[in-house]
Symmetry: C2
Subunit: 223 residues, 2 copies
């Protein structure tokens, strides 16, 4: 008879994600995840090839939450906005884990689906294949960056987020005002999101507007 398996892959992924959310990516260790399940570190190797495999699974889960917009006759930029907003929504709750997406979009199935759709919409907008590929790549990584570097985030363990934001703000306000007038004036907005909805809404708009501009060559400056 098979031994009753005590370990569950999905639960392990959840634990890894929780640890990442609460204490940062560096706190996610095989030994720590194992401990939370009252199991030897080596037990995890039944479910993942190695530590990176755990991260792969975490990202796959996050990206799988993204719902692709229905195929319909709406303008491409409207659908693009919906698609990209979906990606942002999926990553927002997990800014620490988001870093892992950079190297993994094309190696997970849901990531490939998102990329495929982005490419499709860019092609529909009139872009040649090569430029669409470049733009898709730039776009998706930029959105990940938006989540990682959202004002108020330190990138660290994030024990007390509000305190970190206050500290950040104080540091900016303490800057010499003659050298950093704008940084001092924007201390508040640079150290915490007034409205996350607005921050991400505008972030997506920045990109989509840039895409639209690429379709109107006269708007592009070049270098």
């Amino acid at each position: 008879m098979a031994a009753p398996k005590r370990l569950n892959r999905d639960a392990l992924i959840s634990t890894a994600l929780e640890v990442a959310d609460r204490e940062g990516l560096d706190a996610v260790t095989i030994r720590r995840v194992a401990q939370r399940h009252d199991v030897t570190p080596m037990a995890l190797y039944r479910h993942f090839p190695d530590k990176d495999g755990i991260f792969d699974a975490v990202i796959e889960r996050l990206l799988a939450q993204v719902r692709l917009p229905e195929h319909d006759e709406r303008p491409w930029d409207e659908q693009m906005t919906e698609l990209l907003s979906g990606l942002v929504e999926a990553l927002r709750p997990h800014p620490n884990a988001a870093t892992l997406v950079f190297s993994r979009i094309l190696s997970s199935t849901p990531g490939r689906d998102i990329t495929e759709r982005t490419l499709a919409l860019l092609r529909r907008s009139g872009m040649p294949v090569e430029q669409a590929a470049e733009t898709a790549s730039q776009t998706l990584s930029s959105l990940v960056a938006l989540v990682i570097a959202a004002p108020g985030r330190t990138g660290g363990p994030e024990i007390d987020e509000a305190a970190a934001a206050r500290e950040q703000k104080a540091a900016l306000l303490a800057l010499p005002e003659d050298r950093y007038p704008h940084l001092v004036a924007a201390a508040d907005a640079m150290s915490s999101c007034g409205s996350e909805a607005l921050y991400y809404g505008r972030g997506v708009d920045l990109i989509v507007t840039g895409m639209r501009g690429a379709q109107r060559p006269e708007a592009v400056t070049g270098r």
Copy 2:
């Protein structure tokens, strides 16, 4: 008499950066850097408070290379393009280290200078302070993302870059064409930069065009 100091802070930073470039960020360890200078790990603690201090110094050096454009009467978007291109040029040779920039732009002097100038140009474009702060934050992190996730980069140790690109391309070409028609068609462009100059030039344009669009409300869709 003071003992002749064998260790040099700048040289240590160079070593850290070299290791990062060649073998990835994870390969940068205090012990490894120390070993390259024929010194005990503890010797480094004379020059840096801890490991993170080494990373801080690495990023400070990279960002210090960015030359801010002269103050002149050219249009804001032209100056912005120059500024952002300068940042990209500084980071391009060090994609592995670039990840560290996210959490450090505002905590290094050159990073603050870059951010201050970005804010100034956005304000000059007509943006209100809060939006300028948001946009500056989004812009700078997006450019970092461009470097980190440039087609052809795996994010890993990068032993053989060309081989990794070929492998990536083969993986894309092996995808089912009915489900991923665009991904298959764009396999080449998704797995390596045809022209890095074009990739980064268009990347900067994407952002700057997005900024211009924020000044023309009718171009913004919203959500």
